[in-house]
Structures are given as C-alpha cells and as structure tokens.
C-alpha cells in the first residue's frame, strides 16, 4: 500500500509541477493524460495480472494507478493557480525562474497538492482492496471474498468495516500532516 502510494505521490507531484509550470509540457502531455485518466483502475486489473502476475506487484501497480491521477491533477491545478502578483513581486525582488518555481509556485500549490494526496490515498486504498478481491490470496479484499464463499455475512461486513476504518486512519494521518504544513493558511 505504502509503496504504491509513495511512488504515486512522487511521480504525480513531479509530473504535475512540470505540466503545471511549462505550457509546452502541458500541450504535449495533456492528451496522453486525459486519455488514460478516464479508464477506471478496475479495468487495468487484467492487464496488471498479465504483466505482474499475482500478489504484491500488481497491487502496487494498481494503487499507483489509482492515486496517481488525483495527485497529478491537483498538483497541476495548484501550480497553475499560483497568484500572478506573487510571481511578479518575486521577479521584482530579483528571483530567477527556478527560484520563482520553487520558492513561489511550489509553496503556493502545497494546499492543492495536499488535497490531491488525500484523495489519492483514498482511491489507492480502494484499488488495493479491489485488486485483492480478484487477484490475490491475502488481505482484506481476499478475506471478504473468502467469507462470501463460506456465506458468513457478519464476517464479510467486518472485513468491509475494516477497510473503511483503515481508509479513515490514512485520511486522518494525512490531514494531520496537512494541518502542520499549512499552518499559515489559518486566518487570525
């Protein structure tokens, strides 16, 4: 779970900064992104199993896939939304374009990036469970399917609740991190 999410976070934020900052990169990459994005992660499961077989690897791939797009799109939005006057003021203070990107663009996009991470971790988690339901022999998804086959509804529900609780904990953890990083947003 964590591995897939971390890869998604790094790749999504990195690519998001590039696409959000350089219009030429956006023109080039946006069509590719927009074609791949509407494909539901579930539709990737067969391909994931063909490529990676069963077990850990296809799960990482699916988590990455689920988490990547919300992180990417929110990063792009955040970078594109950097207030123009902050960029202008940085220029008049003598900042070069790299400094403007990393000292103005990226911090200004942080709230949006954090939102993307929170959405991403939720979707990534859903993808993981979906992957376990179909192509795995361990994990909560597998547990649900197992108790489904033994017709134990209560234990199936228990598995579902566990999924919800773990998702909630991940969400809250990121929220805590976000509050700490974005303290400056709190108005007086």
């Amino acid at each position: 779970m964590l591995v897939g999410f971390c890869i998604a976070a790094v790749s999504g934020v990195f690519l998001g900064i590039i696409v959000g900052w350089w219009p030429r990169a956006r023109d080039l990459l946006e069509p590719v992104i927009e074609i791949l994005r509407p494909i539901p992660p579930l539709a990737w499961i067969p391909l994931a199993m063909l490529w990676f077989g069963l077990g850990f690897k296809p799960a990482v791939f699916l988590i990455w896939l689920g988490a990547f797009f919300p992180i990417l799109l929110n990063t792009v939005l955040g970078i594109e939304g950097t207030p123009k006057n902050l960029i202008e003021v940085a220029k008049t203070l003598g900042a070069n374009s790299w400094q403007i990107l990393f000292k103005v663009g990226v911090p200004s996009a942080t709230p949006s990036i954090m939102a993307g991470l929170r959405i991403g971790i939720g979707i990534g988690w859903m993808c993981l469970v979906a992957a376990e339901l179909t192509g795995s022999n361990s994990g909560l998804g597998y547990m649900i399917m197992y108790y489904y086959s033994t017709m134990e509804a209560a234990k199936t529900v228990a598995g579902m609740l566990m999924i919800g609780i773990v998702g909630y904990l991940a969400f809250m953890g990121l929220k805590k991190l976000e509050d700490r990083m974005l303290f400056w947003r709190v108005s007086a």
Partner: protein, 254 residues
C-alpha cells in the same frame, strides 16, 4: 544639471486582444523624469494606464515604443534596483514577516547573517518590531502593507514603485500609513513613484503630482507641490491645489 534617477522617454503601449482582433491604446508618448530622492505621484481617471506605466518601469510589461532608463541604463526586465509594492500587498502567505522581508536578499544569495540583519533593520524601519514571526494572515491590512514596503526596501532599491498601496485600507489606517511613508522616505530618501486614485493623498505626499489623461493615458499636466512637510490637509494652499488637480481630472472623466 545631474542626470535624472529615472528617465521615461516617449513610452507608448497598445494592448491587443487576440480573440477579437481589437486593440486598446493604454499609453501614448509618456515622458517623465524623476530626480534622486524625489516623490512623484501619478493620478488620473480609472483605466488611464497608471498601473501599466508602473509595470513598464518595473520591467513586468514592455513598452511598444520609447524606453525607461535608470541611472542612464535602459530597463528591460524586472530587477532588484526597482522595488514594487502592490495594492493587495502580495505577501507570501507561507512565510512569516521576517521571511517575507528577507525574500529579496535570499534570492540574491546574500549571506544568511546579512539576510537576518537586513530583515531586522527594515522591520524596525516600518515599525513592526516584535512581529517578526507572525504570518500575513495574522496581521491587519496596514501591518501587511508595512511588511510589503519593508520587503521592497530590503533590496536597497534605487526607486520604489507603489501601485495604490493604501487603496484597500480604511481611512484611519490610510492617514497613518501616509505619515509613516513620509517618515520612511525621510529616513532613506529613495525616489518614489506612487500611483493613487486619491488627489488628497497625492498632494499630501508628493513633490510633484502628475495628472494623466483618460485612455489612452498621456501626461496632461505636472503640478509641483510647494508646500513644506508636514503638510496640513486644511491649509489654504493645500486645499486650493487639491481642487485645481481634482478639476483637471474631472475634465477627463467627462
């Protein structure tokens, strides 16, 4: 006669809207000199290109014709020798007061000890001692504008460009900030080009008030203000000059 600090020579600027193929002439043949240490106010009807002119001086916009010279050198791009203060402060909300003020020295890669010293010095100059580690969201509009002024001054600019810096402040704070700006100007004697809507503000602050015509903006008339500081808004001389300039702008609005 020494050369002017800032020389604006025959600057014109026309904006074209790509969508409609329509063009808007914003500035027409502006020429103006600003001496070292001089305080010049630009006033004029809305949309007369005051802000565009300021952005051209700052290097954020380019002139179609003409040029801007600082100490005889032509200006082509933004640079730290021309500090800019916006109406909406444009502070970095993720940096505290000290971090905002030190931004200029930081991107110019001054040593850290110098960054701290400069930040301290200019925070004191604008009267914000004790607020170094507060964030813009925690400060009032007047205090935020002080931070923006300190940030612009921390690069030791040759000219301070101010775009309606007190426009969004309430009347009380505005008066206070005008007095404060004069004090700061007295202490470091930078040339200031100050854009404002308020004729009273212009007469209170400036050595010279430049009245611009309605779009396309050109210089209509320049009024020297021969009143000694501190000025009093109820003085006869103050009121008559204010009325003269107000009438001159009113002709443009018609």
């Amino acid at each position: 006669m020494s050369q002017p600090k800032l020389l604006i020579q025959n600057v014109s600027r026309t904006f074209s809207e790509r969508k409609h193929g329509k063009t808007t002439e914003a500035l027409r043949d502006i020429s103006l000199e600003v001496r070292a240490g001089e305080f010049v106010c630009l006033v004029g009807p809305s949309g007369c290109g005051k802000t565009t002119l300021l952005k051209i001086i700052a290097g954020l916009e380019t002139a179609d014709t003409g040029a801007v010279y600082l100490d005889g050198k032509q200006v082509n791009a933004p640079g730290p020798e021309r500090g800019l203060v916006f109406q909406e402060f444009a502070l970095f909300p993720w940096r505290d007061v000290a971090g905002n003020v030190a931004f200029g020295p930081e991107v110019l890669k001054r040593p850290l000890s110098e960054q701290i010293k400069l930040a301290e010095r200019f925070i004191t100059l604008v009267g914000l001692d004790g607020n170094e580690h507060k964030y813009p969201a925690e400060l009032s509009g007047g205090m935020n504008q002080r931070v923006a002024i300190a940030r612009a001054l921390a690069n030791n600019p040759e000219v301070l460009l101010m775009d309606e810096p007190f426009g969004s402040l309430d009347a009380q704070t505005r008066y206070l900030m005008q007095t404060e700006l004069l004090r700061i100007w007295n202490e470091n004697r930078k040339a200031i080009v100050f854009v404002t809507h308020s004729v009273e503000e212009a007469v209170y602050l400036a050595d010279r008030v430049v009245v611009m015509t309605a779009g396309p903006g050109s210089i209509k008339q320049v009024y020297p203000v021969d009143l000694s500081y501190p000025r009093h808004r109820a003085d006869h001389g103050f009121i008559s000059l204010r009325e003269k300039i107000t009438a001159s702008i009113a002709e443009e609005v018609k």
